[in-house]
Symmetry: C2
Subunit: 254 residues, 2 copies
DNA sequence: GCTACTTGTTGATCTCGGTCAAGTCGCGCC
DNA sequence: GGCGCGACTTGACCGAGATCAACAAGTAGC
């Protein structure tokens, strides 16, 4: 810990939570500037990760929570057969590692999908700061709760939705979350592969590929490899909740 | 069980966390007796719920977290079409309501599956106590984290497992959780309907019914309406990871 | 007891999405 | 450039589980 002379590491990206672009989305939301300094003391910069780099792995001992600062992560569990299930994709401002609090070991792995930087919150220090700053405690709970809500949505999707609805919901969710980061909501640059999308949705790659094709045929999307243009957000929205009345997969445009 | 034992006054609800049978599973775990008194001050007894009674409903304003003291709850979301998805079944010692922390409104409903008593933790008071008792903060995080882990397991099940594996995993999970409550692990008395099980597993009732039949034919279970005897726990275990693969052992979740 | 209703079981058929298999595209590398 | 490999797409077929439908067994009300 750096309680004495603070060594400034100029290679590190983050300066302080107060000056972070995610200020209003992340832990600092609603925290006043005095308290922010305390939070800053608990945040340790983490080296940047390149595509495919591991943040933590299933079974690792828990010692910190992480917040995505830029880029994106996937969390997943893998079974011996090489089979894996993607649990979630994590964009800037989202927290990762909460599952490990239960028993001090990570139960899933986290890997960068692209160049990604991370804020590390060593748990011991975080506890101290949270103890000193009640409003931060509340905000931390909020951020954790968001992950719970995301998992619940995921669950509903897996339990009830048809394949096409799943993909539509997934795309809408990505667009929304990028929108919150003040980015374009009609152009998505997917950082994950088709295989990862399929796993997340509980489908197989072939199905995902066909669905992209079908949605493109319907004029809803323009798909070019990793780049997705949402041409008709309204129609995409329609696809998200047609629990019973499904498109007969012709060019059904209303 | 009922003979010779001290007659507990069932009208008298919770006495204190210190004297609660769930002491070691619930929030009090690892908290010393002085601090327990503070926790007690934050716990408000909640009236008992009867079968079908609602604890909170989707959209309700958030003001408290809840811990199941006895009985069981289901949490679920319902879509306009009357369609519902069960998110989880909650047994004694498990926390409910975490999803509402994100935006002050419950995003799912919670309903009792049988006679159930609940400890209510008004959030404002809980925050104060957590502030005073760091070890309680950590334990609260643990309990919340357990729910995250349970959701992750649920997700993996929905994404990768076959119907039969899902039911096997569900039954094993129930047996484990009841086992932790020091009950018989070979006889389950299901408090939920076949429809609720089906929804939880992402299947339809007919399939669940057929699977029970098949497992009975295989000599693994003896099924009589809501009462399930696990005759061959070893075979049930085998069914849990027949697919291509599953979590090897992972860490034990408390 | 009888009737009406809810919950669960069983059988016959259908279908969405998985599986298998054969391309095609994009990209790094020599 | 051409080669090789992984990521993606497309097509033909199939099967697990959904759907439809009839029936059985509890359960509540009278």
């Amino acid at each position: 810990m750096d309680s004495g002379a603070v060594v400034l590491d100029l290679n590190q990206l983050r300066r302080s939570c107060g000056s972070c672009a995610l200020h209003e989305l992340c832990l600092p939301a609603g925290i006043d500037s005095d308290d922010l300094k305390r939070l800053d003391a608990a945040v340790r910069d983490k080296r940047k990760l390149g595509r495919g780099d591991t943040l933590f792995r299933q079974g690792d001992t828990f010692h910190a929570l992480y917040v995505v600062r830029s880029g994106s992560l996937k969390t997943f569990v893998e079974s011996p057969g090489g089979d894996l299930q993607i649990l979630g994709f994590h964009l800037p401002g989202e927290i990762v590692g909460v599952d490990a609090l239960a028993n001090d070991h990570h139960l899933c792995s986290a890997e960068a999908l692209e160049h990604t930087s991370i804020c590390e919150l060593p748990y011991v220090q975080l506890q101290e700061v949270v103890h000193e700053v009640p409003s931060l405690y509340r905000q931390l709970m909020r951020v954790i709760s968001r992950e719970v809500v995301a998992e619940q949505r995921h669950l509903v999707m897996m339990g009830k939705q048809q394949a096409q609805e799943r993909l539509a919901i997934f795309l809408r969710s990505l667009a929304d979350r990028y929108g919150r980061l003040s980015r374009d909501t009609t152009t998505l640059t997917l950082s994950m592969s088709r295989y990862e999308i399929a796993s997340y949705l509980g489908l197989v790659v072939e199905t995902v590929s066909r669905l992209f094709g079908r949605m493109e045929d319907a004029g809803i999307l323009a798909v070019n490899r990793k780049t997705i243009h949402i041409l008709r957000p309204d129609l995409l929205e329609d696809l998200c909740d047609q629990g019973l009345g499904r498109l007969p997969h012709g060019a059904e445009v209303v």
